[in-house]
Symmetry: C2
Subunit: 127 residues, 2 copies
Amino acid sequence: MTHMTSDTDARPLADVFAADCPSRRILTHVSSRWGGLALIALRPGSLRFSELKRRIGGISERMLAQTLQQLEADGLIARRDHGEVPPRVDYRLTPAGQEIAARYFELAGWIERNLPDLLAGARPPVA
Amino acid sequence: MTHMTSDTDARPLADVFAADCPSRRILTHVSSRWGGLALIALRPGSLRFSELKRRIGGISERMLAQTLQQLEADGLIARRDHGEVPPRVDYRLTPAGQEIAARYFELAGWIERNLPDLLAGARPPVA
DNA sequence: CGGGATACTTACAAATATGTTTGTTCTTCC
DNA sequence: GGAAGAACAAACATATTTGTAAGTATCCCG
């Protein structure tokens, strides 16, 4: 395993500017309408399909299923089928998913916390 | 001005789960196909329209204009028209834009740096 | 004078994302 | 015996996003 570069590395992100870089695909999934919400929802712990559906207000079953499949294919969440009947399946973040969820959470969290200032068009008092 | 809650506050983000929360709109713009890239591109400093277009490979003029207008309306970037002819306009991040760009940059950066591990489906060694 | 650059805008068309409805296969509850 | 819940899949319709091509006004360059 290669060592991970530091999180504060500030290289210009050359690749992500390239239209055909695979990182774009993952970034797209993560920041799709439901992808990020699903990741955030799973941060506290694993959830079942129906629990996720109830928690992420407004999502349809089709979208939830599709979103979960994408994130699973990207290796960000893990699906566990208990093989019972009636069906019982739950989802949880993989280690990579936790890393990404944490970062998306910071983004969403900052926006939410500073929403009043943003809506007012006022420049929030940057630290 | 209200005081800002700390950046490491880990509340569950109740609002963002609500379909009609305004934070969704901003989050959508930021994480739209081009929004985040534009923010990242502007991190080093202001750029003109055509410079942005060249830097963000693959973007059309239409999309760039639209993206910039959204981000401007959200108060994340500032547009300055030099009033010259031929036109000369440049864009730069507002303080709020810098905050958000920094967080999006961390997300995109982490993905890009750990891309090999992600593509391999291997769980990266989380710190 | 023709050509190119600048920063867009406005149709129009295609691609993608999302939603709705129905169905499946069992089980438990009333 | 219905009825409801579980975790989806498939078909179909629509909405939203994105792209393409062309046009606008003005200037400078050769």
